[in-house]
């Protein structure tokens, strides 16, 4: 119902905005209708209309005008389709939406590997290939940026710090409901024939691309809006909503990782919005930011773009680090080794990530003098990143290890990121990068980081918190089959890509020279194998949610707060505000108590 209202609101907004744009255009002496400039201007109105219709008006904005807000009546499954302000509902909305987007983008990847299986252009032409490749990259970047933070940052973080919800629940709902317009813009882009710029959308190519490119700009802009709103919420929640006794040094490391991620997202996302906006203005309003003939600069785009998009890499990977350390501690039944070093590592990565963006531009034609500083700053990131491995290895050592499914994924993150990180050191070395930039070596590297690190972390988190979110257990056996299938498929796909890149295969091509055919065939086979592994996950996920056996409150024996309350948690999370007494890593210490959850009533103290 509210979705229908949102669609009507969006359509009305578009009409109003389009009318306004057309009035402006004709008063300036131009032709009233021109699809790009009218749509670009009308998008903001459509977005507002959508938000108002989907729930902002009825549940929120009416109050601004002294009216009574509508009572919220949705219950059960319908809450997931409504403007619900419960952080747990929003977390599940994010998880399902972005898993869906992940599988869609994965299908595009299958199509790409099908085309690249043999030499020559067999399945799709170069034009379609570019569109598919661009959509695959864009959607996967969206998933990597938003899935873990949106799903588990929302669902788990408030409970972990002992809060009953986020600081701004309505804003939280709004940040989720900004995602459907992103999907609409991507679909519109696809229907309009796509765009051929890749997810990086470099100007001036992007300024000249077809109307599909405009929808890409609008989609990224809108996702950025959603990210910023969500990030503000998480930062404020962690700063102000921690339970009594939940000091900074007692926070679970996952909370730290999401907190640091949110700060990055809050600071840097505006720059991607800016990059997109500047391209839209160049396309529609006659500005000349990137037009060299009129005094603009194509390199300006790359600087603004990477000023966001490098930190974005850490927005994708830091939550996975947090999950990994959390899981390693839980499944070794040992305190997190070097907790303060792990926090320091997260903060160090956060700070350094602001000053490394031009390592994507070593061959771009930027000033020669910039190469050395960016080489140095980038290589320095290996120090805090190494600390994450220090903490993981130190925790594993002497651990009593349980190879549960989430733990397997955590170990997968460590293995894959080891390769992703070390090849990053290669790419930061300017002479090596000059040869490898824009080849499959880069493609392999960032898939090791983002898929092998970030998305493996997302799946680990999903297996780990599924019982808490649904009150049901996933099949352990299917989970293990999925892990090994995915792990083998992943490495079989992306390890040979390093070799392909070194042998001279450049990225973003539908065709390549004949001598690369056998390696490409092998990569495609690995890719199909990897792709099928998700069928098992999907089956397990859906079946367990509907029919899985009931899960206990704390199936993993973890000490953090979310496991001390029922699965799924009640609406207000805790019956009385928890009193936190120590950090949640008291394994091996019989006297350690993380929190008192019932200080008003009967004394049922949560022990390890």
């Amino acid at each position: 119902m509210n979705i229908l209202r949102g669609l009507v609101g969006g359509a009305l907004g578009y009409v109003v905005g389009a009318g306004l744009m057309m009035a402006i255009r004709s008063s300036a002496g131009g032709r009233a209708w021109e699809v790009e400039s009218v749509t670009a201007g009308a998008w903001l109105f459509a977005l507002s209309g959508w938000l108002l219709g989907v729930g902002v008006w009825r549940y929120w904005a009416r109050g601004w005008f002294g009216r009574d807000v509508a009572p919220y009546t949705a219950t059960g499954g319908r809450r997931y389709l409504d403007f619900d302000t419960d952080h747990k509902v929003i977390g599940i909305q994010y998880l399902v939406t972005f898993l869906g987007m992940f599988f869609m983008a994965g299908l595009f990847a299958m199509l790409m590997r099908w085309e690249l299986m043999g030499n020559g252009e067999d399945i799709v032409g170069p034009d379609q290939y570019n569109s598919i490749m661009s959509l695959h990259g864009t959607m996967m970047v969206f998933v990597a940026v938003a899935a873990t933070v949106g799903a588990f940052g929302n669902y788990v973080v408030p409970i972990m710090i002992g809060a009953d919800d986020m600081a701004f629940p309505k804003l939280n709902a709004m940040s989720y409901w900004l995602v459907p317009p992103v999907l609409i813009a991507l679909t519109a882009s696809f229907l309009a024939g796509g765009y051929d710029t890749g997810w990086t959308g470099y100007a001036p190519l992007s300024v000249q691309s077809d109307v599909g490119g405009l929808f890409f700009n609008l989609a990224f802009f809108t996702l950025g809006l959603s990210s910023i709103v969500g990030a503000i919420n998480i930062v404020v929640t962690v700063v102000t909503m921690r339970a009594e006794g939940m000091t900074w040094t007692r926070m679970p490391i996952f909370v730290w990782s999401i907190f640091v991620t949110a700060i990055l997202s809050f600071i840097f996302t505006q720059f991607i919005g800016l990059a997109m906006l500047m391209v839209v203005l160049d396309r529609t309003a006659g500005t000349i930011f990137f037009d060299p003939a009129a005094g603009g600069s194509p390199l300006l785009y790359q600087h603004v773009f990477w000023f966001y998009s490098h930190p974005a890499v850490y927005i994708m990977i830091l939550p996975a680090f947090g999950i990994t350390l959390e899981l390693v501690s839980t499944f070794t039944r040992k305190p997190l080794f070097g907790y303060k070093w792990a926090v320091g590592a997260l903060l160090g990565i956060m700070s350094l990530s602001a000053v490394v963006w031009a390592h994507h531009m070593f061959t771009s034609g930027m000033a020669e003098a910039l190469r050395k500083p960016f080489l140095a700053s980038t290589e320095l990131i290996s120090i805090p990143t190494g600390l994450i491995f220090l903490c993981a290895l130190g925790t594993l050592w002497l651990g009593k290890i349980r190879f549960e499914v989430p733990m397997l994924f955590a170990l997968g993150v460590l293995f894959n990121f080891l390769i992703g990180g070390i090849t990053g050191v290669f790419l930061a070395d300017v002479p090596v990068d000059i040869q490898l930039q824009d080849t499959y070596f880069v493609v392999a590297h960032f898939h090791y980081v983002i898929l092998g690190g970030g998305i493996f972390g997302l799946f680990g988190a999903t297996y780990y918190w599924f019982p808490k979110m649904t009150g049901r257990s996933m099949s352990d056996r299917l989970g293990k089959v999925h892990f090994w299938w995915m792990m083998i498929g992943f490495n079989a796909t992306f390890l040979p890509m390093f070799i392909l890149g070194m042998q001279g295969m450049n990225r973003r091509v539908a065709d390549y020279s004949p001598d690369l055919e056998s390696a490409n065939f092998a990569v495609s086979m690995g890719g199909f194998f990897l792709g099928t592994s998700f069928v098992i996950f999907l089956f397990n996920f859906i079946w367990s949610w509907a029919r899985g056996p009931a899960a206990p409150a704390d199936p993993w024996g973890s000490l953090t707060l979310e496991w001390q309350i029922p699965s799924p948690p009640p609406h207000e999370n805790f019956t009385s505000p928890p009193l936190v007494l120590s950090d949640p890593y008291g394994y091996g210490d019989p006297d350690s108590v993380h929190a008192d959850l019932a200080r008003d009533g009967a004394k049922t103290v949560v022990e390890k």
Partner: protein, 249 residues
């Protein structure tokens, strides 16, 4: 086990891990040395770049093997844990953390950044060209002009061996990237800007014998991007002069 015995057992595991690490590193280095990582290289720049790559490869082996060996030993040793049996409450270890921080910092600063800088300096040395060639990128082909003789070609880039060559690269439409895999040089062609890169070819050859001897566009530039390439032919100086004069076709 008494405290003493468990301490002893622990020392044994540490020693074993260390030994395994040494063995894994030696084996890894041997494997790295045995494999030919690089495609056909034919320039001064290719030597510098390949050396830099090889150095990083040699350095990565002990790092990778350390993480895998220590992690692997911990997993094997600690396998079969159960939910109600805790590990020891170890939260820190001064020597391990201190050593790690010092070593990784030294590795980053001394052994990675410093050679990166010197490799870059080496690439930039010898900045005076014997020959300048203008490279113009346009969707979707390459145009080469030899300003001294005014000769303009498409379809093949002809270069003299052992000469210092500077490419002045330009574009009119979108960004392209001038890449010759055999030379390990790559430089974007940016509209509104002249970018430069230098190379000294050191081996004769042509595309028909070596796929890597080609100019390949490396920056996505639209539908013809994959096909935006031409062959490269490296000839002797005499042949080059002859070709430049128009006789060599």
């Amino acid at each position: 086990m008494s405290g003493d015995e468990s301490k002893k057992a622990n020392t044994r595991w540490v020693v074993m891990t260390g030994l395994l690490w040494v063995v894994a590193t030696v084996l890894g280095e041997l494997a790295v040395a045995a494999i030919e990582w690089h495609p056909f290289g034919a320039s001064r720049e290719a030597r510098i770049t390949d050396d830099a790559f090889d150095l990083l490869m040699v350095l990565s082996v002990p790092v990778i093997s350390f993480v895998l060996v220590m992690g692997g030993v911990a997993l094997v040793r600690g396998r079969g844990g159960v939910i109600d049996e805790d590990g020891p409450p170890v939260r820190s270890h001064r020597l391990f953390i201190g050593g790690w921080v010092v070593l990784t910092s030294a590795l980053a600063v001394l052994v990675i950044i410093t050679p990166g800088f010197s490799g870059l300096d080496e690439l930039r040395a010898e900045p005076v060209p014997d020959l300048v060639i203008d490279v113009h990128a346009e969707r979707w082909n390459w145009v080469y002009t030899y300003p001294e003789s005014g000769r303009e070609t498409q379809g093949e880039l002809v270069l003299p061996v052992d000469q210092r060559i500077m490419f002045r690269i330009s574009s009119t439409d979108v960004i392209h990237s001038f890449w010759i895999p055999a030379f390990r040089i790559k430089q974007d062609a940016v509209p509104g800007q002249i970018t430069t890169t230098m190379v000294t070819p050191e081996a004769l050859g042509e595309f028909d014998n070596a796929d890597e001897l080609r100019v390949q566009c490396a920056e996505l530039c639209g539908v013809g991007h994959a096909r935006m390439w031409t062959g490269v032919r490296v000839v002797t100086e005499a042949e080059f002069e002859e070709w430049l004069a128009g006789a060599g076709g």
